[in-house]
Symmetry: C2
Subunit: 342 residues, 2 copies
């Protein structure tokens, strides 16, 4: 944990390491070492949106018309996503506390705000679509669903290890767990909503998820930059990384098969497995490692048609004039116009 | 420090204390106990702004036309403000780690993002107005200015105490130090810029500071709510609070007299003292305590004319035209509607 202020520190760019740099801990942003972080930060800020500006009134009717299996999946996935963004809101500050390059701290500070806001957006969705007497039950889906509960405990456990015992080894685990969460755990949930939207159901909520998805992709970019740097510094092994990825895939498939399974039109346990392993492969490649799942079926997404719908395929390359749109149309138009080039 | 996830926790509103609540640490935002926090959060989000959208090109010319004393004050104050928002970006996460009401965590998550962004806005001002070869020197004004250095070490020291030794006593000190910073330390700096602007100098930068000021006032509101709650729970004494206020005033007057003194038209060491003691009085009253400085001269601000200019006079009740002069629109219109009802 960095000192609040280290007057003996030196903020020269040569001294400005992401971790263990002997900087002052002041936000001197003139001479930055990691200029990609400043660009990413600007992007994150320009991605600003307010959930309540997205109209989801049609979704109230759609929800009633879902099949019981779709409604169960809807509830379970929202409970799970709330869990994910809750642990992020709590844990990113712990990761940030050891960062010694202010340009990286800048991105993480913005990330903390976005994780919190995503929870606010889930509340907006839940209070719009779910009757009051069932909301707490939805939030607490994990209490009665043993598979979700185990999953949540597993995910939180990796973070908790570092909080309880802040060693460099545990920091690396927490950072990698963060990357797995950001880059793999959200996506079968997003796919569920994009899939409903492709059938003209819950399209307002799909728009909310497009915005969240866009934010998440900026977080993925952040950790894709951080992990290779961390691999140069923190004790870890290649095997450990592959094991964590394999376990992440296993948990993600188990949960998605449990909550979505073969009961939702357009998704099967097989497509879930294919997509999750495909995702793991590209996330490994993005941090300079070989894919884990070498069969050719895991080289592409089974949901290309949905990714086209959601326009997240090109990941973090947002249009330059994204933010130019005005007020009321701002969020809405950006979720449509801006998304295309993303 | 809260666990990342506490499955044995209970999120009922009755259980939802700001500190030491046995909640799950999940962001269940449906049944909130502190509904003021949700309103404040919405307000903070709607205050969103991007520094680079404020035009400060005229200020480049103005800077050259400042007196040497004004330029020295300009540089010193920016260095000091960068320090303040830097320690906030670092320390608010430490305070947030112990908060057990998610609606409060939501506000603090947003605050972290705003503190970081304020640093980005200082960098924008500095890189626009100050030649490249003098920027590092400005950031490091505290290295050569012994009064600023001592001040910074004093402020950071109160925070560091809790980081090094996280006792309830030290938490209270850190929280109160945060309130002093948010509600007193920024304002003589703001006044300097509003004063220049009232003389038609550096008006673009004054607009930047109006935005920062508006954000800071939302933070003041947050801590004005938190401190009285903390006084019910954390060990502390009334004398200790008054001592911390007295010391805060003393440091603030010493620094401002040093960097602004009697050298800037419209500001004197006397008006600085009057304003700072006036501020301390109203900040004490806002947390339910008697004013510290009882002479009638400390019952009003010597800068009413500037406060009118900056439209911050009514503090949390920002006027409708607060900021219509500049910048894009979005936030602006909404912030105004929401604010009056706050
Ligand atoms: Ca995230
Ligand atoms: Ca602040």
């Amino acid at each position: 944990i960095n000192p609040v202020f280290n007057p003996k520190g030196n903020d020269d760019t040569g001294n400005r390491l992401i971790w263990f740099g002997e900087t002052t801990n002041l936000m001197q942003l003139n001479d930055v070492r990691y200029s990609w972080a400043v660009s990413l930060y600007r992007q994150m800020r320009e991605n600003f949106w307010i959930p309540e500006k997205i109209d989801i009134t049609q979704d109230i009717v759609d929800y009633v018309n879902l099949t019981p299996e779709e409604r169960r999946a809807f509830d379970g996935i929202l409970s799970y996503l709330t869990f994910l963004d809750s642990v992020q809101t709590c844990n990113v500050p712990h990761l940030k506390n050891s960062v010694t390059a202010p340009e990286i701290a800048l991105c993480m500070a913005e990330q903390i705000s976005q994780e919190a806001m995503h929870n606010q957006s889930y509340q907006y969705v839940i209070e719009t679509v779910i009757p009051n007497d069932r909301r707490t039950q939805l939030y607490e889906f994990w209490r009665s669903d043993i598979i979700l509960k185990e999953r949540c405990e597993f995910i939180a456990g990796l973070y908790q290890k570092y909080v309880d015992n802040p060693t460099p080894e545990n920091y690396f685990v927490s950072l990698l767990a963060d990357y797995l969460l950001e880059s793999i755990y959200f996506y079968n949930g997003f796919i569920f909503f994009y899939n409903l939207s492709s059938r003209m159901l819950m399209s307002g909520i799909a728009d909310v998820f497009k915005m969240i998805n866009r934010d998440e992709l900026s977080h993925v970019r952040l950790y894709q930059k951080l992990i290779p740097e961390a691999m140069k510094i923190f004790p870890h092994s290649r095997e450990q990384i592959y094991e964590m990825f394999a376990l992440a895939v296993q948990y993600e498939c188990k949960w998605t098969s449990h909550i979505v399974g073969d009961n939702i039109l357009g998704i099967t346990t097989k497509s879930t497995e294919q997509y999750t392993k495909y995702l793991a492969n590209i996330r490994l490649q993005a941090i300079g490692l070989e894919p884990l799942f070498t069969e050719s079926v895991y080289k592409k997404s089974p949901y290309v048609h949905l990714e086209r719908l959601s326009d997240t395929k090109k990941e973090a390359h947002t249009k330059a004039n994204f933010f130019e749109a005005s007020v009321t149309s701002y969020v809405m138009s950006s979720s449509i116009e801006g998304w295309d080039d993303f």
